[in-house]
Each structure stands twice: as structure tokens, then as C-alpha cells.
Amino acid sequence: MIALLVRDMRLAMRAGGGFGLGLAFFLIVSTLVPFGVGPEAAILSRIAPGILWVGALLACLLSLDRIFQLDFEDGSLDLLATAPIPMEGTVAIKALAHWLVTGLPLTLAAPAFGALMNLQSPGHYWIFVTLLIGTPALSMIGAFGAALTVGLKRGGLLLSLLVLPLYIPTLIFGAEAATRGTAGLSALTPLLIMAGITAGSVALLPFAAASALRINLR
């Protein structure tokens, strides 16, 4: 399983734009929002946690279709399905690789990009913590969506349509926790619920995604 993780990480780095593309997209969103909303610092700092969350979520969405699609096309997925690793493990490892390549860099960059939107302290801390806890759920839910659409020729748009509604609870609790934390209010409840969603997704969705993959390989 570690071999699979190492391979996926290596592929992401060699393919170019593994780390970079999502981050660049995130940076562009963080730049465009002030252009759209206006440069008033007060407004920007109020919406900053939410915008950072939505930006991170969309950046995460960009690379989802690559989780299984390339392996499906070149036959690796067939071979992985017959390998000694259970399919659920393959899914979990691939979601983890996606998180390491997308979610983690976004989490690390978000506090810095917050400066563009006048994010006030302790907002930096809260945006980091909420994304750190929430982005694994985004990768795992995304892997499930990618597993559903892996056999389709133009699955990219459909993938967004399927995955975005599933992202709603994570987004609501994550952005709510970040906003409350930034405003100096207690953010413990939304944070704990979001942690619960992440834990539940990581524990259960590999099974759903693995069954979807098996159906698609038939």
C-alpha cells in the first residue's frame, strides 16, 4: 500500500502541475474575489474565511477526475483490482495521495492567501485548522465521485455536479467554524461536527467507492 502511495505521489510530481495547479487556481480565486467585491478592507475581512473555504473546495475539485481516470485508461486499475491490495485500500490510498498533493498544500497556503483578503488574526490560525480537518473529507468524497464517473468519456462536468452537493455539509461547518473562530466566538461545535464528517467519510466512503469501481471495471 505504501508502494502505491509512493507511486501516486511520484506520478503527481512528475506529471507537472500536481502541486502547482490547484495552488495557482486557489491564488487566482483569492485575487479575483476582491476585484469582484471591491477593495474595502472591512467587507473583505468579513467574507475572507468563507471565500478561502470556497476557493479551496473548488481547487480541490479540479484534480479529482485524475484520481482514477488515468489508471483506468492505461489498465492499471484492472491490475490493481486483481492485486493483493483490497480495492477499499486502493481507494483510501489514492484519496490520501490526492489530499497530500492538493488538500495539504491548500491548507498550508490558505493563511498566506488570507492576507490578500485582509484576514485578521486569529483568522489565519482558524482557516488553517478548519482546512486541515476538512480537506481530507473533500478528497475522500471526491474519490467517491471519481469512482462513480471513471468509465465515462466526459465525466469531468458530471463529476462536479455529483460531488458539489456532497460537499455542502463540510463546507457549511468548515466555513462556519472558520468564521466564528475569526470573530472570536466559540467554534467548537461546528469544528467537532466537521471532524465527525471527515472521520465518517474516511471510514465508510472507501467501501462505496470500491463498489463503484468494481461496477465500472465489469
Binding site: P165, I168, P169, I172, A208, I215
Partner: protein
């Protein structure tokens, strides 16, 4: 004779063909009088005005929108566990009706909301939940439409329906947490503590029954069509195989 025998497409087609005219008749007998009673023979409410009459469409369609998703969840589970073709085709048929009901509920809600709250849309938990439900319906139907092989599509949409139900429930909870709203609570409840006077309540019950019957009629018609489509797909493949 077990209930599952009706899951056999043969029996289903035969039985549904016989039942269908009766269901359509009953629908007409409940829905039309219900709506006429509601629209023309109920007094105007003191603080609601004429606009209150939209509840005879709004409330039943909103109820159906949710219940149809629950029915889809049940029939999807039946497909996954017992692989009855009728079951999953019924889920597909119901989605089409469910999304229509959701749209009707949203639009009638907006029309009603304007005179009531002075706005067509508010990010109220109930309204938001229905919008989210609409998105879930869209995703479910888009997945059906995208996959060519009927069995693969049935399997994948069933998995999506089950996972989606969990997330839809989570969304409902999340939205409540996110914003406490201005929508009045459910106007109908089974216990005696009624919010609505009998003059409005009775035609509303009739409309509710009418909508349920209408759904049953539509879902039977659509399921029959879906089953025929599957058969058509099979026949096409067989013809191609004979040629090959």
C-alpha cells in the same frame, strides 16, 4: 405468494396495466375536487390574503419532493440487495417526478414568499434544503443519463442514491445550524395541535391524497416506459449480435 413476485417484470407489467386506469380515475376524483374546493370555496385568511390558496399546491408538492427521494432510497436498496429490475426502474422513474415536485415547491414557494415576506427567495433553512434536494435530484438523473449500459447505470445510481441520502440528511442538519429561518413550521401535523383551521385543512388533505395518487399513476406509467426501454436496448444488442 410473496410480495417479491410483483418484482418480476412480467407480473409487474400485467398488474400495473390493470391497476393504472383505476389509479388515474381516483387521482382525478381526488385532485380535481380538492383543488377546486381549495381555490374557490375557502375563505380568505385574515393575515394571508388570497395568496394562501397556493398551499394547496405548495404543501403537497413539497411533501412529495421529500417522500419521493425516500422511496428512491428504498427501491435502490432493494435493487442492490435483491436485484429486481422493476425496483431500480421505479427509482429512475420517480426521480423525474421528484425533481418536478421540487421545482413546483420552489416556484410556488417563491410566488407565495413575495407577498408574505416581501422576497422571492431567502436563505432560510427550509428553502435552502429544497434547493439542495434539487441539486441531489439533478446529480442522480445526470448519472443515469451519462451511462449507456442500463445495469451499470442502475448499480452506480443506486450507490449514489444511498450515499447521497446520508449527505442530504447531513445538509439538512447543516443548513439548520447555519441559519435559523423565517419559514413557518410544518402546518400539518398528525397530533391534535393544528395550526390550520378545518376549513383549510380538509381540502388540503384531499389535495395531499390527490398528489400521492398522481405520483403513483405517474410512476407506474414511467416505470412501464423504462422497462420497455430496457427491453428495447436488449433487443437492439441481440440484433447487432445476430448480424455480427
Amino acid at each position: 405468494m410473496s410480495l417479491w413476485e410483483f418484482a418480476n417484470p412480467v407480473r409487474f407489467m400485467a398488474l400495473s396495466g390493470k391497476v393504472l386506469p383505476w389509479v388515474i380515475g381516483l387521482t382525478a376524483l381526488t385532485l380535481i375536487p380538492g383543488l377546486i374546493w381549495g381555490f374557490f370555496f375557502t375563505p380568505e385568511a385574515v393575515n394571508f390574503g388570497n395568496s394562501v390558496k397556493i398551499i394547496y399546491v405548495h404543501v403537497p408538492s413539497a411533501m412529495m419532493a421529500i417522500n419521493i427521494w425516500v422511496m428512491m432510497l428504498v427501491t435502490s436498496l432493494i435493487w442492490i440487495v435483491r436485484r429486481h429490475h422493476v425496483s431500480v426502474r421505479a427509482a429512475k422513474a420517480a426521480a423525474l417526478i421528484g425533481v418536478t415536485m421540487t421545482v413546483i415547491a420552489l416556484i410556488t414557494g417563491a410566488i407565495w414568499g413575495e407577498p408574505m415576506w416581501g422576497t422571492y427567495w431567502a436563505w432560510d433553512p427550509r428553502l435552502t434544503s429544497f434547493l439542495i434536494l434539487f441539486l441531489f435530484y439533478l446529480g442522480y438523473m445526470a448519472l443515469w443519463a451519462a451511462i449507456e449500459n442500463p445495469d451499470t447505470a442502475a448499480d452506480l445510481t443506486s450507490v449514489l442514491c444511498i450515499v447521497g441520502s446520508v449527505f442530504a440528511l447531513l445538509s439538512r442538519y447543516a443548513v439548520n445550524f447555519w441559519n435559523q429561518g423565517l419559514h413557518q413550521g410544518a402546518s400539518l401535523s398528525m397530533d391534535k395541535e393544528e395550526h390550520v383551521a378545518d376549513v383549510y385543512y380538509l381540502p388540503l388533505l384531499l389535495c395531499l391524497a390527490g398528489f400521492v395518487l398522481l405520483f403513483i399513476a405517474l410512476v407506474l406509467i414511467r416505470t412501464r416506459t423504462e422497462l420497455r426501454l430496457v427491453r428495447l436496448h436488449r433487443l437492439e444488442i441481440r440484433e447487432r449480435m445476430k448480424d455480427a
